[in-house]
Amino acid sequence: MNRPLDLFASLVAGTLFGFGLSYATMIRPEVVISFLTFDDLGLLFVLGAATGINMLVFQWLPRLRRQPLLGGAFEARPFSVDKRSLTGGALFGVGWGICGVCPGPALAGLGAGNTDLLIALAGIFAGALLHGLLEDRRNATTTAQLQS
């Protein structure tokens, strides 16, 4: 795969995503919270349009083409749900409901000048760090139990 082209495409894709989040006003936590309290259901159109487009692309493109433009393979998103991931999803929702921020909009909103979101970004980084460290502890415990 052509590395510079790959990174350029990633940058353009991220830019479109970030601009779209800004245009959809989803970078304002207040807008997300007013969606969750049913005061403005507009975000349904954000999710619907974004998911709808990609449902077509993800489902059809691999049938039309063998490979992505830069070669390699169309990647699946390996995910099977279990009790732990459901707990994670539930906690994510509680956090989302408290502050109205998602990972993507936090980044785009920062670019659009909402520097308050730096606090949320620091929190998200801290949460991701905590998750990684706890995974290690959990795996170490499991290994120790298997060995004993």
Binding site: L7, S10, L11, V12, A13, G14, F17, G18, F19, G20, S22, Y23, A24, P29, I33, L36, F38, D40, L41, F45, L47, G48, A50, I53, N54, V57, F58, P68, F79, S80, V81, S85, L86, G88, G89, A90, L91, F92, G93, V94, W96, G97, I98, V101, C102, A108, L110, G111, A112, G113, N114, D116, I119, G123, I124, F125, A126, G127, G132, N139
Partner: protein, 155 residues
């Protein structure tokens, strides 16, 4: 009825959603990758930490493009600002952003994704697990927002 459910109209939401969708689609068409946002927050730690979790190939191998992809998010916001498009300042108390942020970061990673990973990519892949996670976080988020509103600490 329509006015009360959509006081700000639907045009900005629909346009924004289409642009977001095109971004995710572009990444898939060109590289074959499904671009969620939250893994970036784990893969970035792999630049600094050498613990087993952050050493895993899926994070180290993707950290470069994820960093560039995330930089694109910021750039997209910057372009929006540069074009002088409407952006009202938000007034969210710091404690909410901090507490919410930690829960979002931890929860999204334990849950295997966020609103873009499960919400857009997972559902577009027709992954049932992702749909279940989306249903879960939508439910807890709505309950939390209503509780916060009832307590008088909502937005």
């Amino acid at each position: 009825m329509v006015d009360s459910l959509f006081p700000n109209g639907i045009a900005p939401y629909l346009t924004g959603g289409i642009l977001i969708g095109l971004g995710v689609a572009l990444l898939y068409v060109v590289t074959g990758r499904q671009g969620g946002a939250s893994t970036f927050f784990s893969s970035s730690w792999s630049w600094l930490l050498n613990t087993p979790f952050f050493r895993q190939p899926s994070l180290r191998g993707s950290r470069q493009w994820r960093l560039v992809y995330a930089a694109g998010f910021v750039l997209g916001g910057l372009i929006y600002l540069g074009l002088g498009l409407p952006q009202a300042p938000s007034h969210m108390p710091a404690w909410k952003l901090a507490l919410g942020g930690v829960l979002i970061g931890y929860g999204a990673r334990l849950g295997g994704g966020c609103t873009s990973g499960h919400g857009i990519c997972g559902m577009a892949s027709l992954n049932r697990g992702s749909m279940l996670i989306v249903l879960t976080f939508m439910t807890t988020a709505i309950i939390t927002a209503w509780v916060m509103k009832a307590l008088g600490v909502g937005a």
